[in-house]
Subunit: 212 residues, 2 copies
C-alpha cells in the first residue's frame, strides 16, 4: 500500500542517484546532452510502460517514442530492465512529509499521496505493467517488490504498533486496497471521505482513537 | 471486490446465455460445429486477453491462437468487444453457494472464491487488461463495471446491514483489496489466515460478532 509514496526510483546503481531532471549548473555540453538524453528517454520509456503495458515494452518502441536511435538506447541501457529502471527514475520522488505521530493523520496522508500518484504518474498503470510482466521476469518482479516495500514502509510501521503477522498483512493490504480497488475495478480513485472512512474503520478495529 | 465470485459472463445478448461449454445433447452437426468454434475461439480469446493484455487484443491475434481464419472470427464476432464478451463467457460461472446468514462465514467464502478466480482463470490479469483498456474504450469499461458490480453484490449486501455511503464503499474496497493488492503488488494471493483476519478486522470495526 501507499506504494511509491516515498521513493520508487530506488536503484542499486550509484550513477542514477543524481536527479536527472536537473541539468548540472556548470556542465560541459556533453553533460548537458547526456542529461537531456536520459530525461527524454526516461519520459518516453515511462509513456510506453504506462500506455502499452509491460509486454509491449521494447527498445524499438521507446526509441521511436523518444526520437532517438535504437543504437543510442542499446549503448546506454542495454537491457529492458535498464530501460524500466530509467522510466521509474523519471517519475521522481513522491511527496512524503514527516510523520505527525497521529496514526489517523499519517495514514490518511499516506493514502492521499498514494492516490495522487495514480493521478499524476499513472501509478496504477505502472503497477499493472510491472505486475503482469513480473509474473514472467524475475528482475521486473524485483523492481516491483522494491517499489512496493519501499512505499508500504510508513503505513506498515504505523500499523505495526497495533498488529502483527497475518493481521498486519491484512490491514496493510486493505488500506492499499481502498485506493487500488476503485482504480482497478472502476477506473477511478476514491474520494477523501472514502479514504478517511477506510482509515477510521481499521483504527477502530484496533481500538486506536482517531479524531474527526 | 469478490468481483466475479458470482457470474462475470453477464451480457445483454440473449443468445449467449447458453452454456457454451456444454454442447447440445441432440444437436445437428452444424450445432456441434458452431458450439466447438465458440468454445475454441472463446478460450483462445481469453488466453490472448490474459497473456497479451487489452491493447494487444485483436482479431488477428485471437484467430492465430485459435487456429481459425480471421474471416470466421469477423463473421461471428465483428468487434473486439464481441470477442472480449466471448472470452469472458468461456470463464463460466464461479462457484457461489447459498449465504449461511453468518457474516464472517459468508464474507470469507466470497473472498476465497475471489482468490480462487485469480488462480483458476487469472482474474487479476483479466481485471488488469480490462482496466487498462477500459480507460480508453467505453464499451470495455462497461463490461468491466458489470463484472465488478455483479461480483461485489454478495459482500456489499452483507456489509450494507452495518454500513452505508462512503463507509460502505471503503469496507467493500478494503475487502477486495486484501485479495487484489497482494496479487498486484507481490504477484501472490493471500493465505486463508490473511483473508480471515481481514474479515475479522472489518466486522470488529462494525461491532459484528464473528466466531473463531
Amino acid at each position: 500500500m501507499t506504494a511509491c509514496s516515498s521513493n520508487f526510483t530506488r536503484t542499486s546503481r550509484p550513477e542514477v542517484e543524481r536527479d536527472m531532471a536537473q541539468e548540472p549548473q556548470s556542465a560541459s555540453d556533453d553533460d548537458v546532452r547526456v542529461a537531456r538524453t536520459r530525461r527524454d528517454v526516461g519520459r518516453a520509456a515511462l509513456r510506453v510502460l504506462t500506455e502499452a503495458g509491460g509486454r509491449s515494452f521494447s527498445h524499438a518502441e521507446v526509441a521511436a517514442e523518444a526520437g532517438y536511435s535504437r543504437t543510442t538506447l542499446y549503448t546506454h541501457w542495454p537491457t529492458k530492465v535498464d530501460l524500466v529502471t530509467l522510466a521509474l527514475e523519471s517519475v521522481g520522488r513522491m511527496p512524503h512529509g514527516e510523520p505527525t505521530g497521529d496514526a489517523k493523520t499519517d495514514l490518511v496522508r499516506e493514502l492521499r499521496a498514494f492516490r495522487q500518484a495514480f493521478v499524476d504518474v499513472k501509478l496504477d498503470q505502472i503497477l499493472m505493467a510491472l505486475a503482469q510482466w513480473g509474473t514472467t521476469v524475475d528482475e521486473i518482479a524485483a523492481i516491483r517488490d522494491s517499489i512496493v516495500e519501499d512505499g508500504e514502509g510508513v503505513a506498515r510501521a504505523i500499523l505495526a504498533d497495533v498488529a502483527s503477522g497475518d493481521e498486519l498483512e491484512a490491514a496493510v493490504a486493505m488500506l492499499s486496497g481502498v485506493v487500488v480497488c476503485p482504480a482497478l475495478m472502476y477506473g477511478r480513485v476514491p474520494s477523501d471521505d472514502v479514504i478517511d472512512q477506510a482509515v477510521t474503520i481499521v483504527l477502530r478495529a484496533f481500538g486506536v482513537p482517531s479524531e474527526g
